[in-house]
């Protein structure tokens, strides 16, 4: 059997191609895009391997995991060092939790307003402002926490210290709000306009359309927005370090100072000799952070994919 001439030519790769400049440009672009795509995976895997290698030996060896999760005594530089991370976990959780209390309603409200109610110039202006908010460096937020919020909290609530869960939570809430707003707005915009039109034609007011149609239809995306906001808050370091007071403490009120996992790593890693127990313990905190943020992002991803399946 002799195959027809044209399929024989097509079967030999490149036989039909002229190797001119465009051909090479195409090949190079393909290679670059491939490298770009693969590098994201390589970097993630690399970070995971590195953090795990530095921390895992210590975490599974000298460090008692029970002590790690149940003791509040984080004294890595003491003569008899203890590595209780409970206070740090509580610090991160309380600040993040407080931040979400503020930013979830704020962001979802802002997203609803921008996507469903604002029109024309108002909408465009708001979108740009929200995006600008997302671009403010975290150290600037930390600065706001230290030099504006701190005295303000001391004066308004008549407390001795203003660098507290309240302060860090407010700052973190404002920091997480733009990303949550943007993602939530995308989720709302993904709701087909035919749904709104159908509901309006049935006599629903704009508010009824939003509550009974748009929010139910986009709830997966909205939930994903919240989860990504939580992830953002959880991993934030500099602003929390500056605004939380950085004191090891199990918080009992919003006016207690706390210390966050991330802030601990940032503050102590420079002083910890490479390979020491202290160094290993900080990387253990890193593994914990990595696992938790990974799970949060994974959850957000699964939730978003849920939309496609329905």
């Amino acid at each position: 059997m002799t195959p027809p001439a044209d399929s024989a030519a097509a079967a030999t790769p490149g036989a039909m191609d002229r190797r001119d400049a465009a051909w090479y440009a195409d090949r190079i672009a393909q290679a670059l895009i491939f490298v770009g795509g693969v590098s994201a995976i390589v970097f993630i895997a690399g970070i995971f391997v590195f953090v795990t290698r530095e921390g895992l030996d210590f975490a599974l060896g000298p460090l008692g995991l029970r002590e790690f999760f149940t003791s509040i005594a984080w004294r890595p530089t003491s003569n008899t060092p203890t590595y209780g991370a409970l206070a740090l976990i509580a610090g991160t959780a309380s600040v993040t939790g407080f931040a979400m209390l503020l930013s979830v309603p704020l962001s979802l409200g802002a997203a609803l307003f921008i996507a469903e109610f604002a029109r024309g110039k108002t909408r465009e202006t708001l979108k740009i402002l929200v995006e600008m908010l997302a671009a403010i460096p975290s150290v600037v937020w930390g600065f706001v926490g230290m030099s504006i919020m701190n005295p303000l909290i001391i004066r308004v609530f008549d407390v001795p210290v203003g660098l507290t869960v309240l302060n860090a939570g407010l700052i973190l809430g404002l920091m997480a709000a733009p990303i949550m707003t943007t993602i939530a707005e995308d989720a709302l915009k993904a709701v087909p306009d035919t749904y709104r039109e159908a509901a309006e034609a049935l006599g629903a007011t704009r508010w009824e359309v939003v509550v009974k149609v748009v929010i139910p239809a986009s709830r997966n995306g909205l939930l994903a927005a919240v989860l990504l906001g939580v992830g953002r808050g959880f991993g934030e370091t500099m602003a929390v370090l500056m605004a939380s007071g950085h004191a090891i403490n199990l918080p009992t009120s919003p006016f207690d100072s706390v210390r966050a996992l991330t802030a601990t790593i940032a503050a102590e890693l420079g002083d910890a000799p490479v390979g020491s127990d202290h160094y290993g313990s900080l990387f253990t905190l890193g593994i914990l952070l990595f696992v938790v943020t990974f799970l949060i992002n994974l959850a957000a991803d699964v939730v978003v994919r849920g939309i496609g399946r329905k």
Binding site: P192, T194, E197, A198, G203, P216, K310
Partner: protein, 278 residues
């Protein structure tokens, strides 16, 4: 023969609510209706009288303004935001652009079916009851038994009950296109609208679906006044009592469907129905 429909089509009777707009046997009347999209004028002095209880079809080439006219009748056109109108639209004698008119009430009395079936992403039951709950819940509390009754009656009217009764709580988006379009009609019925506006309701359906939906629409005739836009002349011919032909934003001719097709009075009409343009 060309002096208006025969007595048999005047069965709507007189309306107790008739006021301002004119005689009572018209469900929808537009008076000198002009409409602009921004600077573009899409409707010119449209005077259309839609007789009660029958099916009136709107035909004409693409872009002639028939969908625009239809969407003006329940003011859904205003969603676009850059639309301006002059003139009036009377529905059962009330000017829907009047100051004392609530948009929600207009939409309650005038149901609309869209070109592509657009069920909401909720269950079949919730789709059918969506408008009912919206409007009735404002006034009173509704019992579950009453909801079930309303649901069954609406689905029966659109001949969907047998196909849907075992999956009422499943998402409406799982239905076939034909069933979805029937559902979209069914959800209008529980609020007892007087007028149904339909914008090419069969254009997304296959021939069998088109036939089934057309038949079902024909069955609603008498209980509702139906104004239907169609691209399909055969459909207008077999499934409407009266027909209005539009061209370039104006109503060119309006009369009984058979007359309009057999003996058009205007040359533009005969050109169109003979397929010389459109």
């Amino acid at each position: 023969m060309d002096s208006g429909p025969p007595a048999g089509l005047r069965e709507g009777g007189s309306s107790p609510q008739a006021a301002g707009g004119g005689r009572g046997d018209f469900a929808v009347e537009t008076r000198a209706l002009n409409l602009w999209y921004g600077d573009f004028q899409a409707l010119y002095d449209v005077d259309l009288e839609v007789r009660r209880g029958i099916i009136t079809s709107l035909i004409g080439p693409s872009g002639c303004g028939k969908t625009t006219l239809l969407r003006t009748c329940n003011r859904i056109i205003e969603r676009l935001g850059y639309v301006r109108t002059t003139g009036s639209v009377y529905v059962h004698g009330h000017d829907i652009f009047g100051d004392d008119i609530e948009l929600v009430q207009v939409r309650k009395r005038i149901g609309m079916v869209f070109q592509r079936p657009n069920p909401l992403p909720i269950s079949i039951r919730d789709n059918v009851l969506f408008g009912f709950k919206l409007h009735e819940a404002r006034l009173r509390s509704v019992s579950g038994a009453e909801e079930d009754e309303v649901l069954e009656s609406a689905l029966r009217q659109v001949l969907l009950w047998d196909a849907a009764k075992d999956r009422l709580d499943r998402p409406a988006t799982g239905l076939s296109l034909e069933e979805q379009q029937k559902l979209c009609i069914a959800r209008l019925l529980p609020v007892k609208p007087e007028v149904l506006l339909m914008d090419e309701p069969c254009s997304a359906l296959d021939p069998a679906g088109t036939e089934a939906v057309e038949e079902m629409i024909w069955g609603l005739r008498g209980d509702y006044t139906i104004l239907i836009v169609t691209h399909n002349m055969a459909q207008a011919r077999r499934a409407s009592d009266e027909c209005a032909f539009m061209l370039l934003g104006r109503i060119v001719e309006h009369g009984r469907t058979e007359e309009l097709f057999l003996a058009p009075r205007r040359s533009e009409t005969s050109d169109y129905i003979e397929g010389r343009y459109g």
